[in-house]
Symmetry: C2
Subunit: 197 residues, 2 copies
């Protein structure tokens, strides 16, 4: 029987996420990862298979965190589809009190931005995660259109692509230091072409 690892995997993944999210993939050296994860090199490789495999698992861990802390109280559960979308933007950008975390941006967009040419597998995994969020937007947009919040002549697929672009743009503004007032105004302007009433 193999020995079980002597650590809490979720807690250790939380710490790896914090470093990758803040500093990016390349700047998070194995030695920095070992320090924040409080592991030795042997445990890291035995339990996670190396830096690239760890990052891949951290992408899953981040998605689970987004689902739990953000989507489950907006896009995934709010009954009214228009409110589901607007509350996503409020919770993600305006009601986020941890400004340091806000300035980390979104791990998926960070991954695509840093790694699309150098680590296509990791970047591709982040693109797939973004596509999943796009589908979530799309299903709520179609509901909102059925409910009369969106004019029938608008293309919901285009609006879903547009919302992904809007979200990426807002994340970039956060990383550039935009304050809550600017974010709120950009959200209001950005959602105005989506909903008609």
């Amino acid at each position: 029987m193999s020995r079980q690892p002597q650590f809490d995997r979720q807690k250790v993944l939380d710490r790896a996420l914090e470093l990758f999210w803040s500093d990016g993939y390349e700047a998070s050296s194995v030695s920095k990862l070992l320090t924040v994860m409080e592991l030795n090199r042997g445990s890291l490789y035995a339990s996670f298979g190396g830096k690239s495999a760890l990052y891949s698992e951290v992408l899953d861990h981040y998605m689970a965190m987004l689902c739990k802390n953000l989507f489950s109280c907006s896009l995934m559960t709010t009954e009214d589809p228009k409110k589901a979308i607007t509350s996503f933007y409020q919770k993600a950008f305006v009601e986020q009190e941890d400004k340091d975390r806000l300035s980390n941006g979104c791990l998926f967009f960070n991954a695509v931005s840093e790694l699309n040419k150098t680590e296509p597998e990791l970047s591709g995994k982040a693109v797939n995660a973004i596509q999943w969020i796009r589908q979530l937007f799309l299903s709520r947009l179609l509901e909102a259109q059925k409910a009369g919040h969106i004019s029938p002549d608008k293309d919901a697929v285009t609006l879903a692509d547009y919302l992904i672009g809007l979200t990426a743009g807002l994340r970039a503004l956060c990383k550039s230091g935009a304050d809550t007032d600017v974010l709120q105004k950009v959200i209001d302007t950005g959602l105005s072409p989506v909903f008609d009433k």
Copy 2:
């Protein structure tokens, strides 16, 4: 009298730009830079002062290139202010035939995304460049408002922030592999809350 460097500085900066733009700051090791720049280590340090100083000069070089190839035939010169803004988006995203280059995104947003926590000076320089572009948007938006293309009750400063967000969002879509058709539709949707006629 000090010896003049035996290379064309602009050409060497072009090559450094290609690598940083594609692979990012951290993944562009000094040894890769020396290979693409066709310099030896001594010349790199003597002429550019090291990797960080080189990146800083590459940010200036990129801005000069943007001015020459993009702003000078759209935002900076087109007489009609609405057309100046719409043609910027067409030229930057739709008429760009080099799809590999399009998937590099924008060096300024790449710098902010990768380096805002780890290299604040370099990221800050990129933020300043983005602010300069925002001012360019703002001056053309104010003209467009004066010309009646934008309703007087809209806040041009908010629209300038929004256009920076839209541009960053479109760059992120490019890095995620969006095709021209998607980019065109997102541009059309994204500009619809800006102009009233």
